[in-house]
């Protein structure tokens, strides 16, 4: 089985490279062809960017593309689409959705954003208040979303709304794909502690959404949203980079530049301790990938997300300490821009330090990850809930 799968993947890689040499083909054209060869999400069915094989082969595909001088940066240029939207559309979308959206998404012809969080509903996503009311074949949306990463570039949004306020909070939700160019959509920048505005607040005023952009049944929005979140946690924590890369490489670089062989033994030991932990975490991610099944990832995706978030914060902070006085600087200064990608990657040690503070918040906070692991993986009892079986209208909110 595994050898058959490998053969299939290899054949497609070779065919792709023959028709579209990775180093010489314009990025979007290459990504489109990659999709057509079933190498976008190998676990998807044929015709939908996949080959119907285990998702573990994706790492191999991406590695080969990078080695051949091609780019896989679409995965973070369009992280909310490719990382989260695609899995959701595969699991819950209609055939038309899958035909219409996946290819341009993968080719980065259309950028996606995620419209879940609201000022009053972050960790408690199911408390959200943005309403959608049906009028014939159209839904009319009103409300405010917040922390919408790349909302300023997005053509499409993954939107969760409340369609029935009288049901308990999880039951009254419905999921849509929203056209960010539709009437009544207002995207405003929100600046972050790095000075940049990767995220936005998004206001909907009587925004129409045709019913055929609904994903899943009316009232089934929570289940669809969960699929997105499970995919998100894997997208955030679950990518396997080469040994010693990522934030630990910035720490090692700072060490070598500033201290070299005669550095402080305590700091050296701390550095090695982080290196070991980063490598152990990387191996865990590799192991999880190997075991991954087709379909939506389970709650164990929170393991990598939790570990990565806390370790990344610790390492980037330690790197600033290693730099000593230089850690009091912010080279390049604060620029109040709206970037075209999130700066979790490929960035200076200083910016990485600030950006990392979001890692334990975005995609579900570390506290929430711990609750998920405790309750859904370890099977511990949940906390008493005051908000479960009463109408959403009656749940206390701040």
């Amino acid at each position: 089985m595994a050898t058959d799968e490998r053969k299939l993947v290899d054949e497609q890689i070779e065919a792709l490279f023959a028709s579209h040499p990775p180093a010489d083909t314009p990025e979007r054209e290459f990504w489109g062809a990659q999709f057509d060869h079933g190498l976008a999400w190998v676990q998807h069915a044929e015709g939908f960017g996949g080959l119907g094989v285990s998702p573990r082969w994706q790492g191999e595909v991406d590695r080969r593309i990078n080695e051949a001088g091609g780019s896989t940066r679409n995965r973070y240029l369009n992280v909310l689409g490719i990382g989260m939207g695609a899995g959701t559309i595969m699991a819950h979308g209609t055939d038309e959705h899958q035909q219409r959206f996946l290819r341009p998404m993968f080719a980065c012809e259309e950028i996606w954003c995620q419209l879940f969080s609201e000022p009053g509903a972050g960790s408690d996503l199911a408390a959200l208040a943005t309403s959608a009311k049906q009028e014939g074949d159209t839904w009319i949306v009103n409300g405010q979303k917040v922390w919408t990463t790349l909302g300023h570039l997005a053509k499409w949004g993954l939107l969760v709304t409340r369609t029935d306020p009288d049901l308990p909070k999880h039951a009254g939700l419905t999921y849509f794909i929203v056209d960010m160019e539709a009437d009544g959509v207002d995207v405003r920048p929100l600046y972050q502690i790095t000075g940049e505005a990767e995220f936005n607040e998004v206001y909907f005023t009587d925004t129409p959404i045709p019913d055929d952009l609904r994903v899943g049944e009316v009232g089934q929005g929570w289940a669809v949203a969960m699929t997105t979140l499970m995919n998100e946690r894997v997208a955030i924590g679950g990518s396997v980079s080469p040994r010693g890369s990522g934030s630990i490489s910035l720490a090692v670089e700072a060490w070598e530049k500033l201290h070299g062989q005669d550095g402080d033994p305590v700091q050296r030991d701390q550095l090695l301790s982080y290196w070991a932990e980063a490598e152990a975490m990387r191996l865990t991610t590799l192991r999880a990938k190997e075991a991954a099944k087709q379909g939506t990832p389970g709650p164990e995706g929170s393991t990598a997300k939790l570990h990565w978030a806390d370790l990344n914060k610790a390492i980037t902070s330690f790197t600033m300490d290693l730099m000593g006085p230089e850690g009091m600087t912010y080279p390049g200064g604060y620029e109040f821009t709206r970037p075209d990608q999130t700066s979790n990657r490929g960035t200076s040690a200083h910016k990485a330090f600030l950006r990392s503070r979001a890692n334990s918040i975005e995609g579900g906070t570390s506290e929430i990850m711990k609750n998920i692991l405790g309750e859904r993986v370890l099977g511990l009892p949940g906390e008493p809930r005051v908000d479960k079986n009463i109408p959403w209208r009656e749940v206390p909110r701040s």
């Binding site: 969080s117 009053g120 509903a121 972050g122 960790s123 408690d124 408390a127 917040v146 922390w147 929100l190 600046y191 972050q192 502690i193 000075g195 402080d264 305590v266 700091q267 914060k313 902070s317 600033m320 300490d321 000593g324 006085p325 230089e326 850690g327 009091m328 600087t329 912010y330 080279p331 390049g332 200064g333 604060y334 109040f336 200083h350 330090f353 600030l354 503070r357 979001a358 334990s360 918040i361 975005e362 906070t365 570390s366 506290e367 711990k370 906390e383 809930r385 005051v386 908000d387 749940v395 206390p396 909110r397 701040s398």
Partner: protein
């Protein structure tokens, strides 16, 4: 361990007068050092809040620790430390650390009577603003600073670069450490002297500017060389006072972070409950409280020991306060962002300002590792 004598005991309790001082400072800062104002200054070109500075000077706060004979109030460092704690709560962008502590303490310790008489009244009045330029371009404190002094008849010529000078661009005078033929010397150089070039560094904490200062053939008179006492010992005293002032500021910032975060944890509702009702949050805040109390104690102790002139105990108390308060402030502000969640990661929220101040002061005038090494020496470990 060679330390056997019991440490000197200093009372923590504030006198009535000191309480009045705290109230007065709080009142001023409440109106003047609002978040909006701090942000306006930190993004503007002035480098410090001139309005607030003038007000602090009018209230006599810039002259608190300057002896009466030089136009100050002759109070102790305990009083000044209370001011730092309050400034730390609000991140007020004023050059009190650079001028009244680092600069003035160096002049007090190294200057002749005449020099003190010439410089310190202006400092006390707030019209003279000193900055201490004593680090090499990379910000290291070494026996050989970044600037060299060569004698030329009655004058001296300074060449080189001093790095990481707090408030260095806007100071009226630079207390400059330079290596001369007979070792370290301290010169008081007017900021507008020919050959002095000052450039702001791109700093992490915008509420506390730092500059790189290039000296190219800068001529100063011998009268501007602090000649009352040994420069190395004087520099050491100034830095020790600076370290204690920072620790008090950090204790203030830690308390403020705990206060605002606790208030948010009480008000913010998720899952139908205040997030402070979740033990993950409640316990973290309780831990912050414990740490914050210990940080305060370490900072207060150091300030009172400095005020009492107990040099031997200060060698323990100062590095203890700086290393401990630095770690606690950093932790607390990190927890702060986490407990605020998404809003805590935004520019518009103040959590990041404290977080950056914490990281920056942790590395300013020696990181915790450096200070723990000093502590180790002091206790004979």
């Amino acid at each position: 361990m060679t330390v056997t004598t019991a440490p000197p005991v200093v009372a923590f309790a504030l006198t009535e007068e000191q309480k009045l001082l705290v109230d007065m400072v709080r009142d001023v800062l409440k109106d003047r050092a609002t978040s909006e104002r701090v942000r306006e200054v930190m993004l503007g070109d002035d480098g410090f809040d001139e309005v607030l500075w003038t007000e602090l000077a009018n209230l006599g706060l810039t002259g608190l620790t300057i002896p009466e004979q030089y136009g100050g109030a002759g109070s102790t460092f305990t009083e000044l430390s209370l001011v730092f704690e309050e400034l730390g709560r609000r991140l007020a962008p004023v050059p009190l650390l650079s001028s009244v502590v680092l600069g003035a303490e160096a002049v007090l310790a190294a200057g002749s009577d005449e020099q003190k008489g010439a410089i310190l009244p202006g400092v006390a009045a707030g019209t003279t603003r000193l900055a201490l330029a004593h680090l090499d371009p990379a910000g290291r404190l070494t026996a050989d600073p970044g600037v060299r002094a060569v004698r030329d008849g009655d004058a001296w010529v300074l060449d080189g670069t001093a790095g990481f000078v707090v408030d260095g661009r806007t100071a009226t005078h630079l207390v400059t450490a330079a290596n001369g033929p007979d070792g370290l010397e301290l010169f008081v150089v007017a900021g507008d002297t020919a050959g002095v070039e000052r450039t702001d560094l791109e700093v992490l904490d915008l509420t506390r500017p730092m500059a790189s200062i290039v000296y190219s053939g800068v001529r100063v008179q011998d009268a501007d060389r602090l000649s009352g006492a040994d420069a190395v010992a004087a520099l050491h005293r100034a830095l020790e006072a600076g370290v204690v002032a920072i620790a008090c500021e950090q204790a203030g910032g830690t308390q403020e972070t705990l206060r605002t975060t606790t208030a948010y944890a009480r008000d913010r509702v998720q899952f139908g409950r205040s997030i402070g009702s979740f033990q993950a949050i409640k316990h973290r805040l309780a831990e912050m409280l414990v740490a914050s109390e210990s940080a305060r104690s370490a900072a207060y102790h150091a300030a009172r020991i400095l005020a009492a002139g107990e040099r031997e105990e200060l060698a323990i108390a100062a590095p203890l306060a700086k290393s401990y308060c630095s770690e606690i402030y950093e932790q607390a502000t990190g927890h702060g962002i986490q407990i605020f969640g998404g809003i805590g990661f935004t520019w518009e929220h103040d959590a990041h300002l404290y977080f950056k101040r914490a990281k920056s002061t942790k590395l300013l005038l020696g990181d915790p590792k450096h200070h723990r090494a000093l502590l180790g020496q002091a206790i004979g470990l």
